[in-house]
Amino acid sequence: QELTIGALYLDAQGFYGGIKKGIEAGAGDSSVRLLGQNSQGDAAKEAQFASTLIASKVSAIIMSPVSATASVPVVKQASEAGIPVICYNTCVNDEDAKKYVKALVTTDQFKLGYDVGLVAGDYFKGKGIDKPRFGILNCDVYEACVQRKAGFKKAVEETVPGVEWAADQAGFEPGKSTETATTMLTGDTAINAMFATTDNGTIGAIQGIMASGRQGQAVVFGNDISVQLAQYLINAPETLIATNGQQPQQMGKDSVAMALKAIKGEAIDTYLTIVPTEMFLSSDPDKVKAWLEARPDGIP
Amino acid sequence: MTEPLVQMRGISKAYPGVVALRDVDFAIGRGEVRALLGKNGAGKSTLVKILAGVERPDEGSILMDGAPVSLRTPMDGIKAGIATVHQELSVVPELSIAENVFLGRWPKRGGGIDWRAMEREAHAALEVLGLDLDPRQPVARISVAQRQLVEIARALRQGARLLILDEPTSSLVAQEAETLIRVVRRLAEQGTSVIYISHRMDEIRRVAQSLTVMRDGRHIATTAVGDVTNRQIVEMLLGSTQAEGEVVRSAPAKRSPLLSIRGLEVAPRIQDASFEIRAGEVLGIAGVLGSGRTELLQAIAGLRTIDSGSMTLSGSDFRPASLRDARANGIFMTPEDRRGEGAVMMLGIDENLVMASWGSVSRGGVIDRAAMREKVTASIRALGIKLAHPSEPLGNLSGGNQQKVVIGKALNAAPRILLLDEPTRGVDIGAKRQIYQLMRKAAEEGLAVVFVSGEIEEFCEVCDRVLILRGGSITAEVEGEAIRTETLSELTTGEQGVH
C-alpha cells in the first residue's frame, strides 16, 4: 500500500528550497508519495492546507509551523485524526508539541544567533573596539527570527558589554532588505556592523554596505548560508565576516525518516533532533569552497 | 442619372430579439443631400452604422462607385471617404476640445503632435459652425450642444465624399441648426453627398433634395422632397393615416401660481430672472444656446447654488438647498444628457422606469415585484416603448425609446413640478406627439410642467405659456394664441426674420 506524506513549507525562500530537496530525496528513497504545499508564512493558509491533507487521510504530515500558538489547532486536529505530525525547523509551543507532535527536527534557533554573536564579539574585542554600533535586519514576524536575534544580542553583550544597538528594521525580502540596509547605513554613519537573521537579510546588509560605499568601515554577521553568501565570503572577506549556516537538506531528510518511523509505529527515541549548524568564516575560505563544491546545483 | 456614389443592396441586420433591418436597398448620388426619416427604432442608425463600418450586416452588399467594398471597421469607412456623426455622442471628455476635433488624426510635426496648429485649426473649424470656444479646455466642461458641434466639426474636417449626420441637430437650437444647414448645403454644392437623419420636418425641407422613409426596418419610399407633403411623409412614417395632431393646447385657464421666483441670480449666467410656474399648465422656456435654460431648471431642482433671489412655493418661502430637498417638495427634473445623466444603460428598462420612485413599488425596502411589474407595464403602454423584454438593458433600445423611458421615470416619480430639459431630443414625430399628450395629461392632472426645447415649433404645439430667456433674465412672456414660431424666434434672438 502506497504511503502518502504531506509536507508544508513555511515559504518559498532559498532555505525551504533546500528543505524541499531534502524531503523529496527522503521520500524518493522510500518511494513515498508526497503532497507538498507552501504556507507562505500565513497561519490561515497553513490551516487550510493542513485541513486538506487531514481530510485526505495522509499517513503523516511534515511541517514547519508558522506560529508556536496559531498553528496549534491544526496540529491538534491532525493528531486527533490519528495522523502523526513531524515538526522541522519550527514547532508549536513545547506544551502542545509534547501532546500532539511526534518529533521535532530543527536547528537551535537561539544558538544559531548566539554562535555568530560570539564570533562577532570576539571580532571586535580582537580589534580593540569596545563600543561596536550595530544595525539589525530582522524578520521578527517569524518567531524563530526573534530567537535568533535574542541569541545574537546575548552573545555580543556578554563579550562586548559596551555594544550599541542602533537601527533595528525588518529586512528579509530580497531587494527590500537591500533598500532598508542602504538607508540605515547612509542615515547612521556611525554604524560599523550589521547583523541579519536570514540569508536575504545578510545579502541585503552586504549590498547595503557596498551601495553606501562603506566597505572597510562596516562588517556583516549573518545567518544562513547560500551560494551567494559563499561567494561574498570568498570575494568580499572584509565585509562579510561570518555567517552561521543551517543544513536544510539534512533537516528534510531527517524529517522524512522520523515520519516513516512514526507511521510504522516504531519508537522514536528522542523527540528532538538537532541538526548541527555550520559556521562559515571569511578567514577560512577553504571550508566555504568545499561547501560550494559539494553543491553543484546551488541548493543549500 | 449618373451612377450613384454609394449603393446598399439587400441589407439585413438582426440584434438579439430584434430585426433592425430587413432587405433594405439604399442609394445616394454625388452631391445629393438625402434625408433619412423614420420612427424611433425604424433602423436609420443601424443602416448608417453599417455604411460607416461600425456594424456588419448579416446579409447584403455595399458598392461604392459601382465596385463592391468591404466596410468591416470604422477605419474602413473613414478610408473609403465616409465621415459620420453618430447619434450617440462620441467625444472623450478628458481630452481637450482641439484633440476631440482631431481625434485619431492629430496633426504631426517632427515626430510629435503639433499642438499649436491643432488648436488653431480646431478653433477655425468650430468657428465655421458659429462656436467660439477656447480649444484647450477639456470637453467635459462644455455643454451637450457644444459637444455635438465638436463632433460635427470633426466630421467636416475629414473632407469626406459622403457625410453622414445622424440627428446632428438634436440638441441644437434654431440658430445653430441654421448654420449647420448652410454648411451642409455648401458642401453638397462642392460635390459631397450627405445623409441627413432628423426628426425635425422643417429642417428636412430646407436641407435635403430627396428623402427616404423607413419603417420597422424596411425601406418604404424614396422621393424628391418637393413631391410629397408633410402630411404624406408623416403617413409613410407612421404607417397609418393617423391624424396630424392639432394643437393639443387646452383652453387657457388662469391658475394660481405654484412657484413664484423673483430676482433669481445663479452664477454665471442667470442674472435677474422673475417668473412664476402655475399648476395645471405647460410652461415653455425658450432661449438661444447657452442662454442658461439648463441652469435655470437646475437651480429650481436644487442642483445649483442660488446666489440671490426669492422663491415661494404654494405661498410659503422656499429655496431648494439640495436635489433631495427639491424632490421632497415635489420638484423633479430630467436632464438633457440622456446617456451621461439620464439613465443607467446597463440596467433593465423596468428598473430605469421606477428608479426615482422605488418607494411606491417597495415595502420596507423590499421590492414588491407585482407592483413594479404593473407600474412598468403601464408606463411601457402609456409611452409606447418598443422593446423585446421589459428587463433587457436600456442600452439596447433606440435613442428615442430611451428618451421615453427617461420621461416615464420622471412621471412615475409623481412630482408637482416637472422640469423637462429637452425631453423630445431625438424623439420621432409620433412619439413626440405622445410625449406632448403625456405633458398635457400631466398638466390636466394638476402638475406644473416646465418644458425646455431647442425647437421653437414645439412650443406652439404644446405650451400654454412661453418664457423667453435672454441675457440671464426673462425678457418676455407669450401666452395662448400669441405663441407662434416667428414671434418666439424674434424674441429669443432679438433679430427679425430668421426664416
Binding site: 507552501n38 490561515a44 481530510a55 485526505s56 506560529s67 | 443607467v344
Partner: protein
C-alpha cells in the same frame, strides 16, 4: 387589456432567461468539468470530508466576497479586507485577554468593522478620495495596528468552545460554511430584491443618473463599505476561532484572493455588473482548484502555474461562450 399587459412579463421566455444567466451557466459548466477531472485524478477529492473541507476553505473567501461583490458593482474597490481580518482577530483576542466576554468582544469587533467601512465610504462619498487610496491606507494601517497591538506574536484565545465556532461543524457541515451559505442567501436577496441592492447597481452603472433620480448615492457608497467591513470583521472572528488566536500575520493577500474570485465570477471592476451567484461559483471554483492541486500532489512551486492557466482558460471559455449564447438569440 389587463391580460395583455401582464403578458409583457408573464410568458416565460427561456431564451431571455438563459441569455441573462449566460455567465453563471458558463461558470457552472467550468466547475463541473473541474470536478469531473479532479474526481478521476485526485484521490480522495470526492470524499465527503474533503468536500466539506472545500466548503470551509471557501467560507474564508466567500463571506467577504458577498460584500466585495456589492463594492465592485457600485464601482468601488476595497483592498483593506485582508489586514482587516487580521486586525479583527487580534482585537478580539486582546479584548478576550483583558477579560471582556467573547460574545461582547465579537460584537465590538463587528461594529468597529462596520465603522471602519463607514469611514472609507465617507471619505469616498464626501471628499471624492478614490476608494483605492482610502483602503490602501487602511491596508497599511490595519496590519500595522494589529502588529503593534500584538508585537506580531499571536494572542491566544483560551476559550475552547469558541474554537469550535470556526473549526467545528453543525449537523456535519462546518460552521463557517453554514454562515457563508446563509449570508449568500441573504445577499442574493439584497442584491436582487431590495431597493438598496438595485440602487447599488444604479450607482455603479451611472452614478450621476442615480443621483438625479434621487437615489441617496452617498449613503449607498457608505453602506457597501460598512457591510464589507463588518463581513471582514466576522471573518476575522472565524479565523481567530479556527487558529485559536489573534494573528497579525493572518490573511495576507486575502483581499487579492477575494477580488480574484469575484472577478472570475463575472463582476466588472468598473461597476454596474455582477451577481452573487456568479461570485459563489467563482469562490467555489477557486477553492476546489486549490484543494485539488494539493491532492494531485502537484509540485508546490508549479501550482501557481497550473492555477493561473486553469483560471485563465475557464474565464476565457466562459467569455467566449457568453458571446456565442448572446449572439445566437
Amino acid at each position: 387589456m389587463a391580460e395583455t399587459r401582464s403578458e409583457l412579463y408573464q410568458k416565460f421566455d427561456l431564451r431571455h432567461f438563459l441569455s441573462g444567466r449566460a455567465n453563471e451557466i458558463g461558470l457552472l459548466a467550468a466547475i463541473l468539468v473541474l470536478y469531473a477531472f479532479l474526481a478521476v485524478f485526485a484521490s480522495n477529492f470526492m470524499t465527503l470530508p474533503n468536500q466539506l473541507n472545500i466548503l470551509r476553505d471557501a467560507a474564508f473567501v466567500g463571506i467577504i466576497a458577498w460584500g466585495m461583490t456589492l463594492v465592485l458593482i457600485s464601482g468601488e474597490i476595497d483592498i483593506s479586507v485582508g489586514p482587516h481580518v487580521a486586525f479583527a482577530g487580534v482585537l478580539l483576542a486582546s479584548l478576550a485577554q483583558s477579560g471582556v466576554p467573547l460574545p461582547v468582544a465579537a460584537l465590538v469587533v463587528v461594529v468597529l468593522g462596520a465603522l471602519i467601512g463607514c469611514f472609507t465610504g465617507f471619505l469616498r462619498a464626501f471628499f471624492d478620495v478614490p476608494s483605492f487610496i482610502v483602503t490602501l491606507a487602511l491596508w497599511l494601517g490595519l496590519r500595522g495596528t494589529a502588529q503593534v497591538m500584538s508585537d506580531a506574536v499571536p494572542i491566544v484565545i483560551m476559550d475552547f468552545s469558541f474554537q469550535r465556532f470556526g473549526a467545528g461543524s453543525l449537523l456535519g457541515i462546518p460552521t463557517p460554511a453554514i454562515i457563508m451559505l446563509v449570508l449568500f442567501v441573504a445577499f442574493s436577496f439584497v442584491a436582487t430584491r431590495t431597493v438598496f441592492g438595485r440602487s447599488v447597481y444604479a450607482v455603479g452603472g451611472n452614478a450621476e443618473a442615480a443621483r438625479l433620480s434621487a437615489i441617496p448615492v452617498a449613503r449607498i457608497r457608505i453602506l457597501v463599505f460598512a457591510i464589507t467591513g463588518a463581513l471582514a470583521a466576522l471573518t476575522g472572528i472565524l479565523m481567530a476561532s479556527r487558529l485559536g488566536s489573534g494573528n497579525s500575520g493572518a490573511a495576507s493577500g486575502l483581499e487579492f484572493d477575494i477580488i480574484a474570485a469575484v472577478v472570475v465570477g463575472g463582476t466588472s471592476l468598473f461597476g454596474g455588473r455582477g451577481t452573487m451567484l456568479g461570485t459563489l461559483f467563482g469562490v467555489i471554483f477557486i477553492a476546489a482548484l486549490v484543494n485539488g492541486l494539493v491532492l494531485l500532489g502537484v509540485d508546490p512551486f508549479a501550482q501557481g502555474i497550473v492555477r493561473g492557466v486553469v483560471i485563465l482558460v475557464a474565464v476565457m471559455v466562459n467569455i467566449i461562450s457568453i458571446k456565442r449564447m448572446r449572439g445566437r438569440m
